[in-house]
Every structure is written in C-alpha cells, then in structure tokens.
Symmetry: C2
Subunit: 505 residues, 2 copies
C-alpha cells in the first residue's frame, strides 16, 4: 500500500469505476462491481484485446457456457488438480490459504510445495490463526471450483468453469473443420472464470469471479511456427529466467523475440510470438514496456497441464509486480485427455506427412480485471493539484464532454442538441453544465475524458465550438458540421489537436 495506489482506488471508488459488490449487505470478499465508468473502460480494454487477437490475428472466437459438467473437468484434470492448500483454525474455525499465512507470518514462499511440507512449516515456524491467534490444524487440499448441479436434485454435478479454455478444447473437432484444417489454429474466448478462493484479501487482484480472455493456439508439434512472426521479430522482450530466479537474482534478460527463439530461451516461435504481441497490446493500453516483464515459472509453480509457463507481469505501485497474463505450453495434454475420456477422435491430419497428430497448444491467457487495475494506475497522473487520468483516448469511458460555457442565453439548449447529435453518431459523450468551466474540465480530466467540447456565444453566431485536449489543455475551434468526424479521428489517433492548429487557451 502507498500513496499512489490509494489515490487510484480512492478515485476509482468515488468516480464510479469500481464498487464493492453487495455493499448494502455487508459485501462479499473476492467480488467487485464495475460502475458506469469501470464497465465502459473494461469493455474498451476487451475491445482492444479482441482487435488484436480476433480482428488482426484472425483467431476464431467462441462463447461457451460457464456452467460445465463434471465429466469435462474430470477429464481436464481440474477435479483432481485445481486445489488450494487450506488450513483451519482449531479454535475459531476460520479458513485460510496456507501459502498466504506462511508468506505473511514466516516470510517463506511455499507455492507448489506439498501439504505435508506446509503443515510442517506451520508447526516449526509457529504460524497461528491471524484472526484469533488460535492453533492451526493440518494443511489439506480444497478444490477451488464453485460447485453446482444441473437439473432438479443433484442429478448432474457441475462446476463454474475455472478457465474458459475447456470450452474450446471440447469443441476442437468442429473448430478444426471450421478452420478447414489449417494450422496453427488460434481460438479465443472472453468471459467469466471462477475460483472459489478460501479467503481473498487483495481487492481486485484476487477475485472469486473474474473476466478472462484466453487464446488456445493449436499447432503441429513438429512445426511450432507463426506465419506472421516477422511482424514481431524485433519486439524486445524482458525475460526473468527461471535460472536467475533460482539463483536469487532479479536480473532481466532483454532480447528480441527472434533472439529469444534463436537462443532457446522460450520453447518455440509461437510462444515468443504471443509474448511479443502482449508487449504491443499493453503498449496500446498505455502500459509502457519498461513496466512489463515475463517471468518463467519454476517447475513447482506450473499448473498440472503445462511444461513451460511464462507470466506477464506488470509493475504497480500498490501491489508490486503482478501477473496479468500467463502463457502455458499445454502440449497435447488437454486434447489427449479429452480423447481418452470421451472416446472421440480429436486428431488433426498433417497433409504433407500424411500423418494424424494430436495438436499441441500454446495458451496466452489474460486476466482482464488485473489489466484494468494496471491501466488505471499507469494512467493516473498528478500535475500540481490537478489529477489527470491519461487514458488512451480509444479506451476512455467517456470520449467527449459537452459543456455550455454558461447556463443562459440558450447555450445549454444548443449544447444539448450537440450532445444528441454526437450520441447519434455513436460517440460516448456526457453533458455537464454544473459549476465553473474550469471545474468541469478538472472533473473530466480526473476520469480521463480526452476531449471537451465547449459551446459559447460564438457558437450561436458561427456554428463553431472549441475542443480542448485533456493532456495538453490546448484548444482548437472547429465547425459543428465536422465535429463528430473530427472527434472520431482524434479518438482513434489519426488526427491531433496540434495538427488542427490547437493552442494554449
């Protein structure tokens, strides 16, 4: 915790980005509501992700249920392996994540260790119940999926999906046919994921219900290449290698995507491709590459399905480095398991070699809520007393403010007309007439409105308005006739206030 992080959360709460869920009933840990501005920002972040992965990359997007039958998650290994090591207080019966207590009270990182080792460490290091100080019991495994049942009674056991990925794997045959057998085949899904955390205590960073954007990239294991690799080959990756972590070093290895493949620092070209794409995506969202690193997971830390995993981490002032995406090399694990359990053929046919193969998979998986937090923190700037949320205009929740200079002489009516025209043109705008124009600009700056349109007396004479740029405070006068078009181009970045002749006011 620190000043910047507190400022971000305070602004986010007060201005309607995020709110604690079910607040009037005392709240529920691990759940957050996106308020009006947060919901728009989140949607815009998703739109950018979709633009990169679906529109530009051409991945197929599908949308499958969040309620998933037992058989599917038995096959995927989640019934047996999606576990959290839990410990209960023998006195107050409070439940805790063993790893968290060990970290907090003993300063040791036991992620990936066995329950026996954790029980032993708890005893030896005198870790106690954080609520009542009571003695803790033995550490045991708790399946972190939310349970439910489909139909009356408990006839058919089901879970809320822990990842969107399984909805893709079970559809592989149809997807492969839809893509006419072409490999690599990228398939994505964006939607809710669930993890029934034992006792989440990290706000937006550890949620029980979250939004994921995942890609499963199926490929011929003998040919793990991306046809567009050249486009990202020179993108620089900041890698925190496993060997350096094991040696206790914070050393970052900075290489181009091409060199990461050449030097075998990553498992294959596809992996390098998606790491590079992530740097580009985060940059588009306003997170500079200097605040991004890729951490190679150590063997004990990887999920049950992965043989190599990279975490994309973003540096924040509030939480330090946080994982915002994971890149797992899932091999043929999932498809093979589903073949075994369903008895169906999920192979691909490699024409050149006349060979049936089970595709391997590289999975870039993004946590949208965490990216949302990072975008907010990296955008909030303080200039003197002025707070400015310097969101990229194309992800700003409100694209333009419309203000009458004063609330008389017919200016509000004219401004309302303009507001209506801009809304009809598809722009997300907000009308504001309350308080001085300076105060309205300040209010708009704080929530990241990139452009403010002011209607003044000259407007009534010559049908022009001023547009003010959030980041430079420069203004330019434009004709109402072109207003929607000019704003759209300013927002997408193909036009700037300066190029229109904007000046300090």
């Amino acid at each position: 915790m620190n000043q910047k992080g507190d400022e971000v959360l305070e602004t986010a709460l007060r201005r309607g980005f995020i709110w604690p869920s079910f607040e009037i009933y005392g709240g529920a840990a691990g759940f957050y509501d996106y308020g009006p501005l947060g919901s728009a920002l989140k949607n815009n972040i998703i739109a950018e992700w979709r633009r990169v992965f679906v529109v530009e990359e051409g991945c197929l997007e599908i949308d499958t249920p969040t309620v998933v039958p037992f058989e599917v998650l038995k096959a995927s290994g989640h019934v047996d392996h999606f576990l959290d090591a839990m410990v209960e207080c023998t006195r107050c019966k409070g439940a805790f994540k063993a790893v968290d207590l060990l970290k907090e009270q003993a300063g040791v990182d036991m992620e990936g260790k066995s329950v026996k080792e954790m029980s032993k460490a708890i005893r030896e290091r005198g870790v106690r119940c954080p609520d009542c100080g009571g003695e803790l019991g033995e550490v045991f495994e708790f399946n972190a999926m939310f349970k439910t049942a489909v139909g009356p009674g408990s006839k058919r056991q089901a879970f809320l999906r822990p990842e969107t990925a399984q909805g893709i794997f079970v559809d592989f045959r149809r997807l492969y046919r839809h893509g006419r057998g072409k490999l690599p085949l990228g398939v994505v899904q964006i939607g809710r994921g669930y993890r029934n955390e034992i006792s989440p205590r990290q706000g937006m960073i550890r949620l029980r219900e979250f939004t994921m954007a995942e890609a499963e990239v199926f490929f011929d294991p003998k040919n793990p290449v991306h046809p567009g690799f050249e486009r990202v080959a020179s993108e620089r990756l900041r890698l925190w290698l496993a060997k350096d972590q094991s040696a206790g070093s914070e050393q970052i290895t900075e290489v181009t995507a091409a060199d990461a493949v050449r030097q075998k620092l990553v498992c294959n070209q596809l992996m390098a491709y998606y790491l590079a794409l992530t740097v580009q995506l985060l940059r588009r969202l306003g997170i500079p590459e200097s605040a991004v690193r890729f951490r190679e997971q150590l063997p004990g830390q990887r999920a049950h399905y992965s043989v190599e995993t990279w975490d994309a981490e973003v540096h924040t002032q509030r939480y330090g480095w946080i994982e915002i995406a994971g890149f797992a090399y899932r091999t043929d694990y999932d498809l093979s398991r589903h073949m075994q359990h369903s008895g169906e053929d999920l192979t691909a046919f490699i024409e050149e070699r006349k060979e049936k193969v089970v595709c391997h998979v590289v999975e870039p998986s993004f946590g949208i809520d965490r990216i949302f937090y990072c975008v907010l923190e990296h955008s909030l700037a303080t200039e003197g007393k002025r707070k400015i949320l310097k969101l990229k205009p194309y992800i700003a929740p409100i694209q333009a403010g419309v203000f009458p200079l004063v609330t008389k002489d017919g200016l509000p009516e004219r401004a309302r007309q303009i507001e209506r025209e801009l809304r009809t043109a598809g722009l997300r705008v907000e009308y504001d007439e309350s308080g001085s124009i300076g105060r309205r600009y300040a209010r708009a700056d704080e929530v990241g409105v990139p452009f403010c349109v002011t209607v003044d007396h000259q407007t009534l004479e010559d049908n022009t308005v001023t547009i003010r740029d959030r980041d430079t405070a420069k203004q330019v006068r434009v004709s109402i006739e072109n207003l929607a078009e000019v704003l759209k181009r300013l927002i997408e970045g193909t036009l700037s206030i300066e190029s229109l002749g904007g000046q300090e006011s």
Copy 2:
C-alpha cells in the same frame, strides 16, 4: 418445426453459428455454444443494443457478479418465488415441468395456476410420464436457481443470478449519486443469467444459461415521463391487450406510442417509450415491425415483482410467436424490499416537492439468445438454389471476404496483403482462395458476408479491386487506397454500391 426453421438450424450448425455444448460428452440440455460466426453475430447484436441504450439513451452500464449471496435473493423474493411447478414419474423418476406436460398431452395452458390445480388436472386428464408412460406423482415447487456456496464448505449459500437486475438494485444509492440525483435514471447490465430448467427441450429458446440485456429505469412515481418521448411518439405499436386474450381473440390493437399513453393502454409514458424503442431496435437488427407484437401479460402470468408486464414477441416459422423481451412495471417492489432487508436508505429526494420517495422502476429486459435466433431466421432468404443470409451489414460476423480471382500470377499474395491491411484498419475480413469464385461468393452469401473484394489481374496493373454486394450481386471497382474507408461506409450504410456506380457483373 417446419422447413424454414430446419434450414436455419441446419445452416447455423454447419457454418459455425451455434453448436450443442459438451457434444463429445453427450451434450447437456439447455446449453449452447456460440461458434465463431455466432459469437461475432451475438456480440454485434449486443453492440447494437448498447448503442441504443447506452450511447444514444445515455443509460449507465454496470457489470456485477453472476454469483449472488443468499441474502440478496431472499430480499428480492427469488428464494421464495422463483419456482417451477415440477412433477416426477413414480416409475422412472424422470422430472418434468408440469406446465409443459399439461400443454403437450392435454392441450391446456396452466401457466400461473397453483400446484394443486395442476395435480388435479394431471389426474383428471390422464397425463402420464412422456418417457416411460408411468404414473406421475404430485406437482410440487422447485426453485429454479442454480445453487452454489462461496468459500470452503457451504459456509455462505449463494445462487447464480436469475436476472442481472438485482446487481443494479443493490447499487442504487451509488448509481443515484453518480447520476447526480437526476430522474428518470436508466441503468443497464448485459451478461449471463441462469435458470435451472427442469428438462429443457426447445433448443435455443429455453436455455439454462443465457445472455440478458436489462435496463432498470428508476423514476419519480408522480412523474413517469421520458424527456425524449417526442422522438418516438409516432412510432406504431402493435398491442395484444389482455382483454382480447381473455376473450380468446387474436385481435391486435395498433396505436402510436403517444396514443397508447393517451388511451391508457399502457401504464405510463416510460413504458410506451421503451416499447417504441424496442420496435426501432428490432428494425435495426432486421426484424420488421410486422413480425413484432406486444402481449400484455395476464394477471396470473406476471412475475412476483410486477403489476403490469408486456412481452415483446417476434414471429418465427420454427416456434411461432416467441417472447424476446419483457417490460415489467416493478413499482417500488425491489428497492423497498432491499431497504427492509438491508436496513439501508435507498430513497431519492425530489427537489421540487422536498420529498423523499422510493423510486418506481420500469424494466425492459431482453433475451439476447432468442433475438439471435430471430435475426437468423428473419435474415435467411432462398433465391432459387441460392441461400443468402441477409444480415444488416453492421451486424454481419464477417464484414468482407477477400478473394484472389485465381490462385496464380501473384494474385493470392496481393490478396493476402489486402486482407492484412483491412484487418489492421479494424475490419473483420476473411481470405478465401478455395474453389471457383462463384462458389466462394455462394459460401459467403450463406453466412451473410455483405461485401466481397476480388483481386484480379487488373489489380496488379492499376491497384483497383472489385467490391460485390451480397444482396444485389452488383459490383463496383474501387481503388485499394480507399478500400477500407469505402467498406466502412458501406457497412455503416452511409454509402451504397449503387451510389458508387455499381453494376450487374
């Protein structure tokens, strides 16, 4: 069932609009996957809804959890009233919805009747188990919410939300403040809703997990007006009044929105406003007003929170008239209940009267999956042997096809370049080189691709391509330099092939 309906589903399955969920494990009734084309179409329908309700109307959009604690749904009445009348076979233990069996086997509509009346009707009319012919037991009530628990054990009972609305109601105080006390205050939410149907058997029409788009419009009960009513006042509404239904008449009363209010056919102006807006929205989605009617629910049919409900129904060949949206006048039911149960003050302050009031609510609630089906059915046209999915270009999953005329002379490479440029410009395009150009056009027509770009030998000489219009098959030659811009304007409808001088090829 009938030919048109079968054609729609056959095309939808074969071409990747919808797939049965968890198919390789034998499927799960009441769940559907959206394939690559379906997911895009659904997203585009949601985008149009959002454009109307959020961008144009200025409603606040929020995004709250799908997992909802017991207390919230106890307060909302769902724990006690979200019930389905169920009956089990005494022999095979099969579970059925009593209303369905009574309709299917005895031809009576007992929606809204008591379990006693239904039990009696089952006995008297000799309704039997549809699976094994066995005798049925007594009808009883089954709560149709999916149950789960938050945290380890069953510590905190929770449900998957039956509607998105409650997430809005519990946030009322924050929303009211965010909207600076202005009424009416429209708040929307788009997301998953769940209903644990007993045994769903109607494909996409009766889902256990579905996507809803709901608006809760809070207003001063003494002033149920919409400031923009004039914009829709002359929109014509086709109403099927309760009195005509009770009299066994199919008579439709067609009135303008203004007259519906004046003649007191609907409860207030806000209700009429949203009915009219719905006609406009459906028209934008390609569903003509002649296929839309508003059915006034009979007293026994209404949900526990509503005193007047209208269903928007769309006529389909497959299922007859189906409900795609409900408009409930929820009065102050929800806010009052949450005030009682939480002890919090959720009133609004009416400045003019210096009076605290509990807002009333009109709720337009849309079922996106059903609208999706209606859009597909209303768009599928057959012209001779040619099938054309005449989707409005702005909701088409693929906005343009890019085809090399032949697969030699460098045409594929040039077409690939153009594909890449269009993707970078944000257009959803697809490259296709397989089969004759006529076959590729036909394939594109069937999935509703509105424009196809063909790269031919002339392209290599003068950097022009042809654009072919799906609905008229007219073609026009344009410069590659302007291609993205021209396509964008064709898609949004501000330009037509004819205005560009397009001709029959």
